[in-house]
């Protein structure tokens, strides 16, 4: 395929993905806005007012970056896992397999769909957060970079989950039993400084810690982890997930007989 044909193929997948999640916006976009509003009301206003400050800033302001990042992570992930597994389940994935599209275009098409939903939800959630607190951004470039890298990383993770999934149960197991605990233990609601040394050290194995702290640094200028380490870790995880996803597509395992 020529570069132009590949561009058309990529845009076709991306357009299809955006249409899919906007058509069912009550299932894909609205829940994040409602959930995040509840978090702000309960953790930010009701409980947060009693907690006081965290790392020198109000608790409400402290949790906002983590909650925005939580929305990006879950939406990028769930968009790709549900869409790609759905295509596997109804065999419409064969439309792509019989066509001459290179594997990396298929991958980037689905991942970009995840990024699009992650970014759209991030905008919605950020606008919601403005009703509850003032948001001053410390480093716009860093914020954009972390959002982009994070949505790519978790869209890729969703893709890998979809390839291995055999049933709809399999696409909810990872978000429920792996992703959600990692998010909650990733420093969204607390600073790692509050943890005993052992648990703080163990938390460093959690990729969400780097994601949340990198974004918090971009927004508030504070972080539990050196920003260079955070960016390196996110970048490293992304490269590994990308290469593994391409390997899965090339080998055809779980996609072809």
């Amino acid at each position: 395929m020529s570069a132009y044909e590949q561009y058309i193929a990529f845009m076709t997948i991306l357009r299809k993905e955006i249409r899919r999640f906007t058509r069912i916006w009550t299932q894909t976009l609205l829940p994040s806005a409602i959930t995040i509003s509840l978090y702000y009301m309960i953790f930010g206003n009701l409980i947060g007012s009693r907690i006081g400050e965290m790392d020198g800033i109000s608790y409400m302001q402290f949790v906002v970056p983590g909650l925005i990042m939580m929305s990006i992570v879950t939406n990028s992930y769930s968009n790709v896992v549900s869409s790609f597994f759905g295509a596997k389940f109804n065999h419409s994935i064969e439309e792509l397999q019989v066509s001459p599209i290179p594997n990396y275009i298929i991958l980037w098409g689905y991942v970009s769909g995840g990024i699009a939903r992650g970014l759209l939800v991030a905008i919605i959630v950020t606008l919601v957060s403005l009703f509850f607190t003032r948001l001053e951004v410390n480093n716009y470039l860093l914020v954009v970079a972390v959002v982009a890298m994070t949505s790519v990383l978790f869209a890729l993770c969703g893709f890998i989950n979809a390839v291995f999934a055999n049933s709809f149960d399999d696409i909810s197991i990872v978000p429920t039993f792996v992703l959600t605990p990692l998010i909650y233990l990733g420093g969204v609601f607390y600073s790692l400084d509050l943890l005993p040394d052992f648990w703080a050290g163990l938390s460093k194995a959690n990729p969400l810690v780097y994601v949340v702290n990198a974004f918090r640094y971009g927004v508030l200028g504070i972080s539990d982890v050196d920003i260079r380490i955070s960016l390196s870790m996110i970048g490293g995880f992304t490269v590994i997930a990308y290469l593994f996803s391409l390997h899965l597509l090339r080998s055809g395992k779980r996609l072809r007989s």
Binding site: S2, Q6, T12, G86, H91, S92, E95, Q97, S257
Partner: protein, 309 residues
């Protein structure tokens, strides 16, 4: 080979063993000429869909070579894929998408610009009687319409080779006939067609060449005409307006009396059918209608499968 066009499909020593150890293909060789209307027949589990799956890149081969219009799929599968359109046996589109979107997306996967894709989609939707349904979600279509949608989708990028796996399964007679006419038309226009079918009369009506596959091996691969020439025995059903005499005799022929007005006669190769009429006439029986009691290709098919078992 120079000067001669490459075959539309050439398969050499193709093998497939699934992970569970089942040997679906045992080294098949097959060649389908450009412009052919070719039938691939075989009982369930014979290896038809596996063969098509490998050509369509939905199944990984274990060994052997496949060329599509001279392009080795191991060397340039993307270019080879551009030459073929696949109509699978099972519905494999997103039932929540609109009919037109399914076609436009497929065209996009082949790198076709949207404006061109719209023209192509409109052409095939009209040709296949789906234009009025273009804005309907695919799940609302009838079984026959869904099958025609898959044909339109397979043709959207104008492939040189169209492969259809059981295209008329679950399609009513009227729809089947219009589908036959359409397939004949595009074959006449130059598209090579390979189809698998359980309806042997379909293969006889549409196809010029045939391959029969059984237990993962090609049993025969030749023109339908030459295949039928080898048929040793045919069974005819004869109907009389008068009651058949009792006893009825047909010297040299095996026959079965079906009821008072009809009988079934077996004609071995070399026997003269007019001899049957002559003997019946002498007994005062006049034949008003005659037909093959079994499809000729079906008989041949069963014979070949029995031989290969």
């Amino acid at each position: 080979m120079s000067g001669q066009p490459a075959p539309a499909l050439k398969i050499s020593s193709l093998t497939k063993t699934y992970d569970n150890g089942f040997e679906a293909l045992k080294g098949i060789d097959l060649e389908v000429a450009e412009g052919a209307f070719f039938a691939l027949l075989g009982p369930n589990g014979a290896g038809k869909s596996t063969t098509i799956g490998i050509v369509a890149s939905l199944v990984s081969k274990s060994g052997g070579k496949v060329w599509i219009h001279g392009i080795d799929i191991d060397e340039n599968f993307p270019l080879a894929k551009k030459q073929i359109g696949i109509v699978p046996q099972e519905f494999n589109f997103n039932i929540f998408e609109k009919v037109e979107d399914i076609l436009l997306n497929q065209a996009g996967y082949y790198g076709m610009p949207r404006a061109e894709a719209k023209v192509q989609a409109e052409h095939y939707l009209k040709k296949l009687g789906l234009y009025e349904k273009r804005n309907t979600t695919a799940r609302m279509l009838s079984g026959g319409m869904k099958r025609r949608l898959m044909i339109a989708r397979a043709l959207i990028h104008s492939p040189k080779l169209l492969i259809l796996d059981e295209p008329t399964a679950g399609v009513d007679i009227e729809m089947r006939r219009s589908m036959y006419d359409f397939l004949k038309e595009i074959n006449k226009a130059g598209t090579t067609i390979i189809l698998t079918t359980h309806y042997l009369e379909e293969a006889e009506a549409l196809c010029r060449d045939i391959a029969i596959i059984n237990h993962g091996a090609i049993v025969t691969n030749r023109s339908i005409k030459s295949l039928l020439r080898d048929l040793n025995r045919e069974v005819f059903m004869l109907d009389s307006s008068d009651t058949l005499p009792d006893p009825l005799t047909l010297e040299g022929f095996t026959f079965t009396r079906i009821d008072d007005n009809s009988l079934e006669v077996e004609i071995e190769r070399g026997q003269d059918l007019s001899e049957v009429f002559s003997q019946l006439r002498t007994q005062g029986v006049s034949v008003v209608s005659m037909r093959n009691s079994a499809n000729r290709l079906e008989q041949m098919f069963v014979n070949l499968l029995e031989e290969s078992a």
